[in-house]
Amino acid sequence: MEKGRTRTMAHILRWVLTLTFVCNLAALPLVPGLVGINWSGGAETLRLLSESSGVPVFQVFALSCWQYLWRVWRIGPEAVVLALFLLLCGTCTAVILWQGLRVLKKVEAGRAFCAENARYAATAGTVCFVISALALARFLWAVCYYGSLQPLFSYNTLFIPVFLAAGLMLMVLSALIRQAAELKAENDLTI
């Protein structure tokens, strides 16, 4: 009964994660465009461009995203750092989601406690540490660049402890799964 419920929940969660993973991958190429559009006036500029040219907003957005793929790197250091940070973090979150999908696939197959799941959780934890380190690097860069402690009060600073804690939790979870897998193997091999 409990096993069936766990599998059902894992199945639903796997669908949600798959959708999130696809959205994550689809959003990655749009990052330079979104940063560029944000730097050149945001949605208002898009609307004005659309009205003056008579082209639909979505088309203007798509064209801007395409152009900013290489133009964003010439806007300025702030835009470059933001685009790089978001691109790297987006890649990292895609890796975390992929590991989550692999874990859920094993749970659905009824093999929640196996060495592979421990490895997947550890990989996700390591990637969380990478995101935390990236946020720290961006924070330090911003402190040096602006010459003030104002970046301390941004969402970017929040990334550092949140992803550090998430990484540590995933590492603990990985150790627990490994221990459970060992106990299960021992139990299975008790005749």
């Binding site: 193997a185 021992e186 091999l189 008790t190 005749i191």
Partner: protein, 68 residues
């Protein structure tokens, strides 16, 4: 592991096959194979009891300690 299971020796002495022994003591052939091939991590007293009864032997005839 330093503990060796000499089940195949006892089975040969008693001229009994794996399938027959498994059926006699209520084990699956797969589990008996794990035991016979020294892949088991532990053995329950109830299994040992059934094995000794079926093979008419002592636990020492089945289990042996070999210094590694």
């Amino acid at each position: 592991m330093a503990i060796c299971v000499n089940l195949d020796v006892m089975m040969a002495r008693r001229k009994i096959g794996a399938g027959e022994l498994a059926a006699k003591i209520g084990l699956t052939p797969a589990n008996l194979s794990i035991l016979k091939n020294n892949h088991a991590k532990a053995i329950r007293f109830s299994t040992l009891d059934a094995l000794c009864e079926a093979l008419e032997c002592q636990p020492g005839d089945i289990l042996e300690y070999r210094k590694e």
